[in-house]
């Protein structure tokens, strides 16, 4: 009796509840994809992010790549190639700096061997100072370039995250994690801005002051400001460490309580 009732119920439900088997053709599929793309403003994001990615995606159409990825044709090889190229570029630009420093040291050693053989130690000391200052000048000009690169990277990081976060949170909301997205956005935005600001406004000036202190303290043996430079160094590493701790604690907190 029970078995019959269940069977009857199944048949009734089967008839009542309409089940549509929709065989979506390619066109409708593409249309929905495009609509969703427009709704999420993905094209805007790609256009805005081009400002920060620089020449990394110079001749790659990200939209095309994205479309291909949606259809299932994930193309990793071009991205890997790009990353390798970028690494090669960085290495070649830095090798030039290293070579110039090596050449300076070579010239310095040759001239030092000439000037140290002089009987008059005062003049040879003077020449040593001049050579030291020259080497420092050349290294510092490279250093200032590096500092500029770091500053640009920090500001780019903040800008890129500012563009990425709204899109990320909308996508997260659409995929169902509403609570996470509503909590994650302020935290991440705050952290990214906070850390970027700390790097730009605190750490880079500290590093600059530190380098100038070290250079000046090394010019003469009698005037020593090593302790001050050591203090700056320790403060710097402390700030960076605290940042790292902050990130770690935040992630642990999120995992355990939310």
């Amino acid at each position: 009796m029970k078995k019959n009732l269940i069977l009857l119920l199944i048949i009734i439900f089967y008839i009542i509840i309409p089940i549509n088997f929709s065989y979506a053709d390619d066109n409708t599929n593409n249309n929905t994809l495009k609509e969703q793309e427009e709704e999420f403003k993905i094209q805007d994001f790609i256009n805005n992010s081009k400002e920060y990615t620089g020449d990394f995606f110079e001749d790659i159409d990200i939209k095309e790549m994205l479309d291909n990825a949606i259809e299932g044709k994930v193309d990793n090889s071009t991205i890997f190639k790009r990353i390798l190229n970028l690494l090669g570029k960085e290495v070649t630009t830095n090798i030039k700096t290293i070579v110039s420093i090596l050449v300076i040291i070579l010239i310095h050693s040759i001239l030092k061997s000439i000037s140290e053989s002089l009987e008059n130690s005062n003049i040879s000391k003077l020449i040593y100072y001049v050579q030291y200052i020259l080497i420092v000048t050349i290294i510092m000009s490279n250093f200032s370039d590096i500092v500029k690169i770091v500053e640009n990277t920090a500001s780019n990081l903040v800008g890129f995250m500012n563009i990425l976060i709204p899109l990320l949170t909308t996508l997260m909301m659409y995929t169902g994690s509403i609570t996470t997205s509503s909590i994650i956005e302020p935290i991440i935005l705050f952290m990214v801005n906070f850390i970027g600001n700390i790097i730009q406004n605190l750490i880079i000036p500290f590093v600059l002051v530190l380098t100038s202190l070290v250079i000046i303290s090394k010019i003469s043996d009698k005037v020593q400001i090593d302790k001050l430079s050591k203090f700056f160094k320790s403060r710097n590493s402390m700030v960076l460490r605290n940042n790292f701790d902050y990130i770690c604690w935040n992630s642990i907190f999120r995992r355990n309580f939310i």
Partner: protein, 128 residues
Amino acid sequence: MEVIKIIGIAFAALIIIILLKQYRPEFTIYVSLLTGIIILFLVMDKLTGIINLLQSLANKTSINSTFLTLLIKITGIAFLSEFAVSICKDSGEAAIANKIEIGTKIIIISMSIPIISSLLEIILKLLP
């Protein structure tokens, strides 16, 4: 072979000086001066080779060539002044030797002013 030339000149001068000392000790100073100058001229060619090497090294990289020439000039000035000072000291004129030293020091410092100022400029540019 250059070394043998230098040694030969030095030994010849030494013998002349020893011989002269018995008869005319006042002429020995001229002989020693001449020897020094001849040795310096013999070494000059080699020095230009070293300088050319340094400059070619600097040209291969992006080192400011004005600084390098300044550095070479300063080293050369020190070298020459050392030579003059040693000659003065040999002939028993320590006062003049000291004056030469002071003069060279001042000239070297005045020549290194652009380098020092550029260092200062870079430090000031770096500081926020």
